[in-house]
Symmetry: C2
Subunit: 377 residues, 2 copies
């Protein structure tokens, strides 16, 4: 079940403040809302919860001023915030495990209502790969599909270019106003006018290495399927493909000669079960009957958050559970369900303990409702 | 169950005469042996059976002289005949549906006892494809596998070359002494010395278009798996791959860019379930545990031939069955089992009727124990 989207401007600002606060990822954002009832109350509770989680310094909260400035700057830029649960929020994205609570968007939001496919691949793509991406994007666009990609050099750029006329969505790893790489500025401008730009990061934030996998989960999450055109082993495109699979979306790949290292990742995907794509017809064939995904109840994977049990903290009960949880957690991601069983906590209690740990900067979330512990700060 | 191989030189000559006689394919060869008890008696019966099948002229029988000349020429050439059921007959080939009763062989027959893989592909191969075939052959050879191919230009030749040192078998579409294409004469000579040459055709016969699919069934039949390196749509390599599948052997393919027409056939095979091969390790991985095929009871698919019922012809019974069979048969291949059910004949009776029709030149055999009718002569 999704949280109710903000109903007032003040609530919207609270949402923004909460997601922009230190150590608050999407999972903890929703867990806090569920636990505290509102973003405003969550903001009040963060310091105490972080302390209980072992934080030595209080996580930095996003101030009312900062949030207001971001909203104004975004409006001045021609963009706006869309909250999960609002009609303009991309339906496919709402269905992933931890959708961003707020998306910054510039351009034509109506594109989010159409069937869409991600086209991703190597930055150092071959001429043949670039042509393949452009033609695939053109032909899929002509068939009514929106093309989603990450505005990177090579395959991404070729895919966006091929779909400029028909509709394309670029997901940025940094802020909505940060053009990266600079060489794609012209394409960026064209997409802002003719397509849509999307980011979950604050305006002005330069993309950092750790942002790209997060961005990739939006690329795949916005799409019925991810098509990998050229991808070396251990490349970002393979991460996008893996995320697509974890999100229950189709993974497809265009094969290439094994003598070209840029094809080996795509070939391996096919070995592992991705659909082999030779042309747009193959993609359309694979997609037949896959509209249904858009109608999936969003956020269903967040089921464990829905438990309504004790918001009251009984520290006498929580304290031994916290010790046990810290003992059980380690660097290897483990499923929430497994933790519930092993430490015999109520789901609501476990939620509180996990919130505390993430706010204290000691916990990381992984796809598949899994968590792992970071070393103590 | 296999027929007993010839025990005397005379029996061997009779086998050769029978398989070299007009309208006698491997299926009818074995059916005749089963029906008549020996190749000698079968040769006597052919004219009468062909007449009953509707032949207007008697099929040309191979004379004792012709058979003796072929045997002498083959010996002079350094080759010999190997009969199905003899120890030197390739075990994998003996397991296919209609193995050649006699194989002409030059070279190292011990190669037939080793695990083997067919490497086939485009004649107009790309430089990358040629290199891939040569390296695959080298590496698979180093791993102890014999490489089987068809001595064609391009991929076939590259595969043989890569495996010259380790062991390679070339299957010829024409007679054992006919080098085709001429440009591969040097390779042909090297294989004759270092590997093995195999043919089911008489010495001196120039290969014709219709011989190539027959040859391809031996290429795949001699191999645990067929690996397609480059193959356009509707190419001979795809026929070999299909035959391999029908023979219960593994089909593997090396992918390539869909922009290269030479890759589209191989890519389609992968779409349809062939294992995607990037290097020799992939082939070896797929082959794990596949030695067992070599131990399969050979000729098991010929089960319907094993029926021991009435060799006596009751023409009063056969005549109406023949009329019904001719009515039921058409240009579309149909399973023997289905015919047995539909015309309610004893298997022995149906065998006789099918022998008659093939000898009369009116019947063709297809893989999967299927037959179709040719227009009346």
């Amino acid at each position: 079940m999704l949280p109710t989207p903000p109903r007032t401007h003040a609530e919207r600002t609270d949402w923004l403040r909460l997601i922009r606060s230190e150590n608050v990822g999407p999972s903890t954002f929703f867990a806090l809302i569920r636990r505290c009832g509102s973003a405003a109350r969550a903001l009040e509770e963060v310091p105490r919860l972080a302390r209980r989680g072992g934080a030595t310094t209080t996580p930095r909260l996003c101030s009312l001023d900062e949030a207001a400035r971001e909203q104004q700057a975004l409006a001045a830029f021609g963009g706006r915030l869309v909250a999960l649960g609002e009609p303009d929020y991309p339906r496919l994205l709402a269905a992933i495990e931890t959708p961003p609570p707020l998306l910054s968007v510039v351009g034509h939001a109506h594109l989010f209502e159409k069937r869409s496919v991600a086209l991703v691949g190597a930055r150092n793509a071959s001429a043949a790969g670039i042509r393949m991406a452009r033609v695939l994007a053109q032909e899929l666009g002509a068939a009514g599909l929106v093309i989603v990609s990450g505005l990177a050099r090579g395959i991404d750029a070729a895919a966006h270019k091929g779909a400029l006329e028909s509709g394309t969505v670029a997901v940025l790893a940094g802020g909505l106003d940060v053009v990266y790489p600079q060489e794609n500025r012209e394409l960026y401008d064209a997409i802002a006018r003719q397509g849509a730009l999307v980011s979950e990061m604050p305006l002005g934030m330069a993309p950092q290495a750790r942002h790209f996998p997060r961005r990739n989960r939006l690329v795949s999450g916005l799409s019925l399927a991810t098509v990998v055109v050229e991808a070396a082993e251990r490349s970002g495109s393979l991460i996008t493909a893996r995320l697509a699979g974890e999100q229950g979306r189709d993974v497809m790949a265009v094969p290439g000669s094994p003598l070209d290292p840029r094809a080996r990742g795509a070939n391996r995907l096919i070995r592992e079960g991705a659909a082999l794509i030779q042309d747009a017809t193959d993609v359309l064939h694979e997609l037949e009957g896959r509209t249904t995904i858009a109608l999936t109840e969003p956020g269903s994977v967040q089921g464990w958050l829905d438990d309504q049990s004790a918001a009251e903290d009984d520290e006498a009960r929580l304290q031994p559970l916290r010790a046990l949880l810290l003992e059980r957690l380690g660097p290897t991601p483990i499923e929430i369900d497994e933790l519930v069983r092993q430490i015999a906590a109520e789901p609501g209690e476990l939620r509180t303990l996990l919130i505390e740990l993430e706010l204290a900067g000691r916990l990381t979330w992984h796809p598949g409702q899994r968590v792992s512990l970071l070393p103590s700060p």
